[in-house]
């Protein structure tokens, strides 16, 4: 029921959109660096970590970036917050 496309088909369809999005990210990072102030900022560090993660092979980059930008889950949260089970 769900179609499967080849690598060439996906790139044929989306190359220009992906290119545009990458340039958008590059321009945004340039904007940050041109601004006055320090880059010693956890948000900037998060961007650097995200860019590194993009270079990993695999088909779960989006999921990995989501987790990079997420607060961690702690299993004993009920005890920590005082919420009864």
């Amino acid at each position: 029921m769900l179609a499967r496309r080849t690598t060439d088909e996906v790139l044929q369809c989306e190359f220009l959109q992906i290119r545009a999005k990458l340039i958008e990210v590059a321009a945004a990072m340039d904007r940050v660096e041109r601004a006055e102030g320090s880059l010693e900022d956890p948000r900037w560090s998060a961007f650097q970590a995200a860019i590194e993660a993009l270079q990993d092979a695999g088909a779960d980059r989006a999921e990995q970036l989501q987790l990079l930008f997420s607060r961690p889950y702690s299993a004993p949260w009920r005890q920590q917050l005082g919420v009864p089970k």
Partner: protein, 277 residues
């Protein structure tokens, strides 16, 4: 293609939007109770809001041949006020038997606090005592993963819950697997910046299949696109997916999920081989 939007806040949209939705094939909307953009001051504010959801909005929708259904709750943002939340939870049963009320929602977490969790649990208890379906909001952005896991923990703790009658909404790449693996329905919300795009939603369909998956716009008073579901339909067609698969996601699945509510009296449009499906 006829479709339903399982999560859209029509109280915040104009009748121009109803007209546009109708022209794009929308035949039904499901509207959860949500935040007004400010914290309401009293339980009477919620009484008036529930009146609007259950009486006025269905009438407004019907003028455009759209069937309107709704859910009731106090949303996660206002749940920090536990005293007010308890007044609202006590009020909800007065409205549960009105036509078109599908259940309790959109309950959930916002910043994943103790008070929010407390109010979420009390909503769950109400839903179980009144045998209602549940529609759940998962937090935005950096709070989503943590909050979704906490929500799934609380759902797992209650043995009364029928997982097939619960929709966990606003899933994204890092939460969809957890929700589906636990046996719940998952909703993908196509909303700028803070949530998903049609392309990413199509990616998740390709990874996880079409079972127990819904697509919605969550159109509200912020920058949002009430026609996001047709955008998703177009994306899926561009990728060559079968009409039957697309229809399952945007029409059959919503009907299957909502049909579990006793107040879901949906009148399907006439569909013939040669007409729009």
């Amino acid at each position: 293609m006829y479709y339903l939007d399982p999560h859209i806040h029509m109280v915040s949209r104009t009748t121009d939007d109803y007209e546009l939705l109708a022209k794009m094939g929308c035949v039904g909307v499901s509207e959860p109770a949500f935040w007004a953009g400010y914290d309401r001051g009293s339980v009477d504010g919620f009484r008036d809001y529930f009146e609007q959801l259950t009486r006025f909005e269905p009438t407004r929708a019907a003028a455009y041949q759209i069937q309107h259904f709704t859910w009731l709750c106090i949303n996660a943002k206002e749940a920090e006020n536990v005293a007010l939340a308890r007044e609202v939870i006590a009020l909800i049963p007065e409205f549960l038997d009105r036509p078109g009320v599908l259940g309790i929602g959109e309950i959930g977490l916002n910043k994943n606090t103790r008070n929010e969790a407390t109010v979420f649990l009390e909503h769950l208890d109400l839903a179980m005592r009144t045998d209602e379906q549940i529609l759940i909001h998962t937090p935005h952005l950096e709070d989503k993963y943590q909050g979704t896991r906490m929500i799934l923990d609380m759902l797992a703790d209650d043995s009364r819950i029928d997982r097939g009658r619960v929709l966990v909404d606003h899933v994204e790449e890092h939460t969809i697997g957890h929700v589906l693996d636990e046996g719940f329905w998952a909703g993908m919300t196509l909303y700028p910046v803070s949530k998903c795009t049609p392309a990413r939603a199509a990616d998740m369909v390709e990874r996880y299949g079409t079972e127990r998956l819904l697509v919605n716009s969550a159109g509200d008073w912020g920058p949002s696109k009430p026609t996001a579901v047709p955008d998703f339909i177009l994306e899926m067609r561009r990728r060559g997916h079968a009409e039957s698969a697309i229809r399952q996601l945007v029409y059959d699945n919503p009907l299957q999920f909502f049909s579990q509510s006793r107040a879901f009296a949906f009148h399907p449009p006439e569909i013939t081989e040669t007409s729009q499906v």
